[in-house]
């Protein structure tokens, strides 16, 4: 709770810091703010609090999710260099502030106890991201992405709200536990059909946010068009928050109708896995590949949600963590590599841009390789355990229910290896002619840190998992 409040304040503070002449102070200040929020967040460890008349609930799960969100935010901010192409038209203070605000929204989504809170959190996050997506004002791609995101996002919000309204009509409450008790009391009192329809609408809205097929179409375009830094931010923070919210909503309120949403989710999962992974194969841009990869990872995460075992939260947590770290690393390297030799004023995000990277910048190449290996789910990286835990939940649920999904997931992770390794192949096995890229110390530190985390978690997953 403290983290939400402090972050809101810090965001405003950040706006004020923007008035300072020196912009240098912004980055460390923002990092400090995030670190402080992180620390504040931890204060509630092992305590259960409910705030604002049952609007927000903090517990260890909340802290875990929000820690991951804050960590990824920290990493994203740390690799930020400049926004937009020229200094004059950029407003770093605003963007940092908006990022902080969006994190506030994300944290609300994690801790909501009331659908109103979920809606508000979702909107804070989304509206902030519309702005961030369009932040490169001169770039038509950025503009297009922003508009698409905005139109589709608000449309999805409408769907989502309609669902909420129907659920409200059926249950008479926005409170999660109240809805939950209505639903689980269903067998005796009968469940209104409004609830079913409402649940499906809510699901559609949420699935849009986590970019699951067939609600994923915005993802590649928006991720592609947005400035890479914000793509990194979106693809990690939104995903983590979205899944936290989705899982919370479904398990607290709708356990009683598991049979209904389980079917929906498995179908969506299979579709998401197929679309995400297969479409990623043919991409020529690494950025776009990572966008599709983000879709595919939504599919893996959905498995854990659909399985709904006691291990699901920890599986989602671990997967989100592994995925976030690896994705940030991947985008961080992409930013550097792509900007080295722009094509027609645009960053070169093709696979070819990575050719010979291992020769030029061994560190970059290695970090990238580790992150790709982790995303592919190959052992001794965090990603492997993420997949392991996720698959475990499904196996635990039972092969008759989840066998089909698992087979698709397994096949698709082979496809995943294909496109992730193309990056590694480019950087290690092909030759390029570019000069080494200069990397700032902080950037270098972040890369080393994320790489170490990925490998460390791959070796000792229990260190973190005990907390989950």
């Amino acid at each position: 709770m403290l983290s939400i409040i402090s972050l809101s304040l810090f965001g405003i503070l950040n706006l004020f810091l923007g008035f300072l002449k020196s912009r240098r102070v912004l980055l460390p200040a923002t990092l400090l703010f995030i670190a402080l929020a992180f620390a504040a967040n931890l204060l509630d460890w092992n305590h259960q609090y409910v705030y604002f008349r049952d609007m927000l609930r903090t517990n260890n799960l909340f802290i875990n999710f929000s820690s991951i969100i804050l960590l990824t935010t920290f990493l994203t901010v740390a690799i930020s260099r400049s926004f937009g192409t020229d200094e004059e038209h950029t407003h770093p203070a605003e963007y940092y502030a908006i990022m902080l605000f969006s994190v506030v929204g994300a944290l609300m989504m994690v801790g909501f106890e009331n659908l109103i809170m979920l809606f508000i959190g979702l909107e804070i996050l989304s509206v902030s991201l519309y702005v961030l997506t369009g932040s490169d004002k001169r770039s038509l791609r950025s503009n297009e992405a922003a508009l698409k995101y905005f139109l589709m996002g608000s449309f999805a919000t409408g769907i989502f709200l309609f669902g909420i309204a129907l659920v409200y009509g059926a249950t008479g409450s926005f409170n999660l536990s109240a809805i939950g008790s209505y639903v689980s009391g269903g067998p005796t009192t009968g469940i209104s059909p409004l609830l079913y329809v409402g649940l499906l609408f809510i699901l559609a809205g949420m699935l849009f946010k986590v970019s699951a097929a067939p609600f994923h179409f915005w993802t590649p375009d928006v991720y592609d068009g947005a400035p890479t830094l914000f793509t990194a931010f979106m693809s990690t923070v939104v995903k983590t928050a979205g899944f936290a919210a989705l899982y919370r909503l479904l398990t607290v309120s709708f356990t009683g109708v598991y049979g209904l949403w389980w079917q929906v989710l498995t179908g969506v999962t299979v579709l998401t896995l197929l679309v995400g992974n297969i479409t990623a194969v043919y991409q020529s841009s690494v950025k776009r590949m990572l966008a599709y990869s983000s879709v595919s990872h939504a599919g893996y995460l959905l498995i854990a949600v659909a399985a709904k075992t006691p291990q699901s939260p920890s599986a989602i947590l671990f997967y989100s963590l592994a995925y976030s770290i690896a994705t940030i690393t991947g985008f961080a390297v992409l930013i550097l590599v792509a900007e080295q030799k722009p094509i027609e004023g645009r960053p070169d995000e093709r696979y070819e841009a990575f050719n010979g990277l291992a020769k030029r910048n061994p560190l970059l190449a290695f970090s990238l390789a580790v992150s790709m290996v982790s995303l592919a789910g190959i052992p001794l990286t965090a990603g492997f355990w993420g997949k392991f835990f996720v698959f475990s939940t499904a196996v635990d649920r039972g092969m008759t229910n989840m066998g089909m999904v698992l087979v698709v997931a397994v096949l698709m992770s082979v496809v995943g290896v294909y496109y992730y390794f193309r990056v590694i192949i480019a950087s290690y096995l092909k030759t390029g002619d570019s000069e080494p890229i200069g990397i700032r110390p902080l950037y270098r530190f972040i890369l080393v840190l994320t790489t170490a985390l990925t490998i460390g978690l791959g070796l000792f997953p229990d260190v973190v998992r005990q907390l989950f």
């Binding site: 508009l147 698409k148 139109l151 589709m152 449309f155 999805a156 769907i159 059909p193 079913y196 329809v197 499906l200 609408f201 699901l203 559609a204 849009f208 097929a213 067939p214 609600f215 179409f217 915005w218 590649p220 375009d221 209904l260 079917q263 929906v264 179908g267 679309v275 297969i278 479409t279 990623a280 194969v281 043919y282 991409q283 496809v415 294909y418």
Partner: protein
């Protein structure tokens, strides 16, 4: 260390010294070591033979392969049969080693040659000394290896290499049969030790199907090793090796391994009359085939090679009628005279500066008197003219065959006539008439050195008197060999006495048969004399043969047949598997999966049109689908 162990070990040591130190040890020392070890080995065998008390014994060296109940031990068996063969191997082996010192003197691979020869003796000794089917198999394959190495000894010549490979592979075909037989034996008897197997087999009834399979498969092994139809074609090609090799391996010892093996397993074979019948007829067919091809060959070594094929067929024919002792006896005498003939041929080739075509020889008896004389003795011996060795052994086989089947006997006798004819043809064309070679060759003609002629003389002596080891009673002999070997067949005689029972032929019939076969041999001789001495006919040149002669000259086109039926199809199959099945079927399928995913990806990409309207439309469709699917129960009631 036991003397028994020393016998194979000595040649092995010789091999190791010469093999590791080849090119470094001086030639004289190489020869000394090479021949010396074998001679020493022979001395040991002789010592054992003289002290042999008639009681077989088995000596275990160590446990070789132990898996569960399966225990294959490295152990040697000393009994009448192994002694007989050891004597032949080391005895003839010694002589041939000695001969090789002279014959190979100018060859750059002198050391290598002796190493291989010693290795061969080692394996051959293992073969006959092993106390179980697996040790026998070690020797069996080992001699195959040596044969391969020695046929391809002059490795610059690719054809020789092909001949060597052919020999090895054909042997391997047989070996597979042998190996399967070993598995069958193991499955049924739980052991491969001769003593164990025979003890258990003695309790079985004749005609047992397992025994039938075992013996048939073992015989497949023998076909390969002893060059029987259909696996005989490698032997004539094997003449690519140096002549002493042909003498030692491809005439005297290795090729008789099949006979050894069957004599060793006589109990099993006696229990399988069907197999015996098969063995007999295949032997006969091989004998006839070999002899007939021998009629028109012009290469001195090829003639001898086909003669070997034919004689081996004879031995199998003998085995087929359960005439084990005569077959073994023929192995012995054949070792003497065939080694003699080959060495004599070697001497001729040596003198003729590596000329092997008999059409280019003639009248050599003046230049090579010792060679001629010894060769003559060998020829008489093989032709079956008394009192030389071949007569006795061959006649005994024919006698048994006569008992068994008259048709078989008739063909056998006919073959004998052919043998006599082609051998004398060879003799006459080489040593009589006028010299038909080049001047240069004539100029170089010379008798071989003592190291070469000495073995010739020794072998000639043996060929002359070898028959007296086993003179039949009808001629007043004591049938010494038969008595010596008799204990080996006791068990077999016990289980199926009728196979051994000779309806007591009257002595007169026996004598009549003998006279008949001698007469037939003389007819062959006479025919050869008329054609090649009186009419001075010289075989026509390459490609001028006609009709049947042409077919026979080309060995009935069997090689071509095999080429067309086996070699080419397998090669074609190889290409087919590789290019079609592997590349076009399996790999395309594998790559196809990848391509499919890529193609799918391309299609999926098209869905990402970039048009917001379409995206939202897809979302709406998605929601509609979700609603329809989930609420189908509500809607449909």
């Amino acid at each position: 260390m036991s003397l028994l162990l020393l016998i194979p070990l000595l040649p092995l040591i010789g091999f190791l010294i010469n093999g590791i130190g080849f090119r470094k040890i001086p030639k004289t020392l190489v020869g000394l070591i090479g021949a010396g070890t074998v001679v020493a080995s022979f001395a040991c065998v002789l010592f054992l033979f003289l002290n042999f008390d008639g009681q077989p014994r088995v000596e275990k060296v160590y446990d070789w392969i132990t898996v569960g109940n399966l225990n294959l031990s490295f152990s040697f068996q000393l009994d009448q049969l192994s002694l007989l063969f050891m004597l032949i191997i080391t005895g003839v082996g010694s002589l041939i080693h000695l001969y090789s010192i002279g014959y190979m003197k100018h060859d750059e691979g002198f050391g290598k040659f002796f190493a291989f020869l010693n290795l061969f003796i080692f394996f051959m000794l293992l073969l006959v000394m092993g106390s179980n089917y697996v040790i026998l198999f070690i020797g069996w394959e080992g001699v195959g290896l040596c044969s391969y190495l020695l046929i391809g000894f002059w490795n610059k010549n690719a054809n020789y290499g092909d001949a060597a490979r052919k020999a090895f592979i054909m042997n391997r075909i047989g070996d597979l049969g042998y190996l399967l037989a070993v598995f069958l034996i193991l499955t049924n008897f739980g052991s491969v030790e001769f003593t164990d197997v025979f003890r258990q087999a003695a309790g079985l009834k004749a005609g047992n199907s397992t025994i039938l399979w075992i013996t048939l498969l073992l015989f497949v092994g023998a076909m390969g090793k002893s060059a029987q139809i259909p696996l005989y074609t490698w032997l004539p090609d094997a003449m690519a090796g140096p002549t002493p090799v042909s003498a030692l391996i491809h005439a005297a010892t290795m090729v008789t391994a099949g006979i050894y093996m069957i004599v060793r397993s006589n109990l099993l074979y006696t229990l399988a009359p069907v197999t015996l019948e098969v063995v007999g007829w295949i032997g006969l067919a091989t004998a006839l085939l070999g002899a007939s091809i021998g009629l028109f060959q012009n290469d001195i070594k090829k003639i001898l090679a086909y003669s070997t094929v034919s004689q081996l067929g004879y031995m199998f024919m003998g085995l087929g009628v359960a005439a084990y002792t005569p077959a073994a006896f023929h192995v012995m005498t054949h070792a003497f005279f065939k080694a003699l003939l080959f060495l004599g041929a070697g001497s001729v080739i040596h003198a003729m500066s590596n000329e092997q075509d008999i059409r280019n020889m003639g009248g050599l008896r003046k230049a090579l008197p010792i060679t001629f004389l010894t060769f003559l003795i060998g020829t008489i011996a093989i032709a079956g003219i008394p009192p030389f060795a071949g007569f006795f052994s061959k006649d005994e086989i024919l006698l048994h065959v006569f008992e068994h089947n008259k048709l078989m006997w008739g063909i056998g006798v006919f073959t004998s006539m052919l043998t006599s004819f082609y051998m004398f043809r060879l003799l006459f064309l080489v040593f009589f008439g006028n010299f038909r070679g080049t001047h240069e060759q004539q100029h170089h003609l010379h008798e071989s050195p003592l190291t070469m002629t000495l073995p010739l003389m020794a072998l000639a002596l043996l060929s002359a008197i070898g028959g007296f080891f086993n003179v039949p009673e009808v001629l007043g002999g004591g049938a010494k060999l038969a008595n010596f070997l008799a204990p080996l067949f006791a068990a077999a005689q016990n289980v199926r006495p009728e196979a051994f029972a000779m309806a007591e032929l009257s002595h007169s019939t026996e004598l009549a048969l003998m006279i008949g076969s001698v007469a037939v041999a003389m007819i062959g001789l006479a025919a050869a004399y008329v054609i090649f001495i009186s009419r001075k006919t010289v075989p026509v040149g390459e490609g001028q043969e006609h009709g049947l002669q042409k077919v026979i000259y080309h060995k009935y086109y069997v090689d071509e047949l095999y080429d067309a039926v086996f070699v080419r199809p397998v090669n074609a199959l190889s290409v087919f598997f590789h290019q079609v099945i592997d590349f076009l079927l399996i790999d395309l399928l594998v790559e196809g999966v990848g391509k499919f995913v890529k193609g799918l990806s391309k299609e999926f990409r098209l869905a990402q049109t970039g048009a917001t309207g379409f995206y939202i439309f897809a979302m709406v469709i998605g929601i509609a689908a979700l609603l329809a699917w989930s609420l189908r129960g509500l809607i449909l009631g």
